[in-house]
């Protein structure tokens, strides 16, 4: 999986309350609604500034705190190409994988990227590069199961497929 995009940088311990404040929680969302609140806990103008294909670069423990899936889903919906940080909150990591958003652990990356830099990532080759500065690094390999879920577009597609296989198997038994 190959990603290239313009970077937006954020600090350490950015919690999910900031990425998607709870005042925007809804039982159901219209298309584009989650994306319209991305990062407003830090920058109210961010949804207007961010473009499809951009990448987010955070500091240590990015996405810590509350389990809210909207924090990952709003990024996916806004077309974020990848979210990159030295480490992530566990639930945020899981939610990114499950919505099919590349969540890339890259030690020390927060010190190597300035806002607006062009970042290139090859997930299969475990490689990250800052095209402006020439910084390059190897990425810790992602679990193949997680990479596959991301490439599949997330857990919804996976679940749909397994359910369909079960239905076919059940029909097969009836014949």
């Amino acid at each position: 999986m190959h990603i290239r995009g313009r970077a937006w940088t954020f600090g350490r311990n950015v919690n999910t309350d900031l990425i998607f404040p709870k005042m925007w929680f809804r039982p159901a969302y219209e298309p584009g609604e989650m994306a319209s609140h991305i990062m407003v806990g830090i920058d109210e103008e961010f949804p207007n500034k961010v473009r499809r294909g951009d990448v987010i670069v955070g500091g240590l423990n990015f996405g810590c705190g509350s389990s809210r899936e909207e924090a990952a889903a709003c990024m996916k919906e806004a077309g974020i190409g990848a979210v990159i940080a030295p480490s992530f909150g566990r639930l945020f990591t899981r939610n990114c994988i499950n919505v099919g958003l590349p969540v890339v652990v890259s030690p020390g990356i927060d010190g190597e990227v300035t806002q607006g830099d062009e970042i290139e990532i090859d997930l299969a080759k475990c490689h990250i590069r800052n095209l402006r500065t020439g910084y390059e690094a190897r990425l810790p390999p992602m679990a193949p199961e997680s990479l596959k879920l991301i490439e599949d577009g997330g857990i919804a597609n996976y679940t749909r497929r397994v359910l369909e296989q079960r239905r076919q198997a059940a029909r097969g038994k009836l014949k």
Partner: protein, 419 residues
């Protein structure tokens, strides 16, 4: 293997698992809160699932937005009630309290169990010697459809707690000390076990506070080896529950083992807006308190009410300070009434509200205005969590919160206890 690995292996129908391995597991119980149930039901439909895999394993708890705050919450809760009926889900608790308080109370959490929940503080349950972890809504929807979900077997770090509590010091202060020493990312993706002689004699209520807070160091689950205290707790609450405790092998690997002498810990306070920015309560006397927020899944148990009432008895809140109290469960509320604790707190001037998450979910009454200071026995001081992003949240123990509400500024509870 560590007991956490054994519990995961058992629920993956395997004899062993390795740390770092990803396995599919079937949990014993899955907790859906009001928001989680509404979202997961919708996502389940979108995934093409019409029936939940096993309604017996699902527990629905309305605690965040209940009673409905906005008309849209009422609509969504109505839909969820219909969905529950349609799916044959019988374990439904609305208005009975916070999921993480009632799970142990009602025996849904037990040694050796695997518990998922649509909320980060699901880890609280791990105090009973189980593996309990929060998940996102699509995650849970996938479980609802398939009857399993993926889990990575975590490495485990252990905190061995020694020494004794000084007066005015509680498990909450231990959790804050760990945040202070090791940061909000002390245990990313890890299992956190609490052991040592102090843990062995710690009451279940205090163990629940420790394990509640592990998510706020980044952990996947807590763990405390089940013992007589665990067995006694369960026999009082779920005498019919059958359970098996798993035990770590003597050669189980730990990522690290940290010795912590609790006798050195003072009453502590996490200051805005970072849980790892922790100071001694006694050095924060110049912080004026506008509102005390008391309750939540961290500090809403009967023991918290006993501690607070002992401090507040015969006293009144500082004139410029208000106090919002939300009991963690109906059982806690009724017990606190029977013991006269609610009386004491109300006579002191506290507002006692409904059971549930209260202002900590950022939803119920008790919101803050810009530049106001709040002290709370909840777990998080994130910017904007109690209303205005310009407000300040200080996180402390139940005793420190009660003592500070009386004083009108932050004080160490040790001072008011020696009065």
């Amino acid at each position: 293997m560590h007991a956490i690995s054994k519990i995961i292996a058992y629920h993956a129908d395997r004899t062993s698992v390795e740390v770092g391995e990803i396995v599919n597991v079937a949990p014993d119980y899955v907790m859906l809160n009001d928001r989680g149930a509404a979202r997961a039901a919708e996502l389940l439909r979108r995934m093409g699932g019409d029936k939940v895999f096993d309604p017996e394993r699902i527990v629905v708890v309305f605690d965040h937005h209940y009673p409905a705050i906005r008309p849209q919450d009422a609509v969504s809760q109505k839909k969820t009630r219909e969905w529950i009926k349609e799916q044959g889900i019988s374990k439904f608790h609305a208005g009975e309290g916070i999921g993480h308080v009632i799970f142990p109370e009602k025996g849904y959490a037990f040694p050796g169990a695997l518990i998922f929940g649509t909320d980060s503080h699901t880890v609280t349950n791990s105090a009973l010697g189980c593996v309990a972890t929060g998940m996102g809504h699509s995650d849970i929807a996938s479980y609802l459809a398939l009857g399993y979900n993926w889990l990575r077997v975590p490495e485990v770090i252990r905190f061995d707690l020694h020494g004794d509590f000084r007066p005015g010091v509680y498990a909450k202060d231990i959790a804050l000390r760990i945040a202070q020493l090791y940061g909000e990312d002390a245990a990313p993706y890890l299992g956190v076990e609490f052991a040592g002689p102090l843990t062995a004699k710690m009451a279940m209520s205090e163990r629940l506070v420790l394990c509640n807070m592990v998510i706020d160091f980044g952990a996947k689950t807590g763990y405390i080896q089940p013992d007589e205290i665990t067995a006694h707790y369960l026999s009082q609450r779920a005498p019919d529950r059958r359970w098996t405790a798993f035990t770590s092998d003597s050669d189980a690997d730990y990522g690290s083992i940290v010795e912590l002498d609790v006798s050195e810990i003072e009453p502590l306070v996490a200051v805005p807006h970072d849980l790892s920015d922790v100071r001694d309560a006694s050095k924060l006397n110049d912080v004026r308190i506008d509102e005390a927020v008391f309750g939540t899944c961290t500090g809403g148990r009967i023991e918290d009410f006993r501690v607070a009432a002992a401090i507040m008895k015969g006293r009144t809140l500082a004139p410029h300070t208000r106090m919002m109290v939300n009991p963690g469960s109906r059982e806690v509320y009724m017990q606190a009434m029977r013991e006269g604790l609610i009386d004491i707190m109300m006579q002191a001037g506290a507002q006692v509200g409904i059971t549930g998450c209260g202002p900590c979910s950022g939803c119920h009454q008790g919101m803050l205005a810009p530049a106001e200071n709040s002290i709370t026995n909840a777990s998080r001081n994130f910017r904007g969590r109690f209303g205005s992003p310009e407000a300040n949240i200080y996180v402390a123990s139940s005793a420190t919160v009660a003592a500070s509400a009386i004083a009108g500024h932050i004080v160490s509870p040790a001072e008011s206890m020696s009065d």
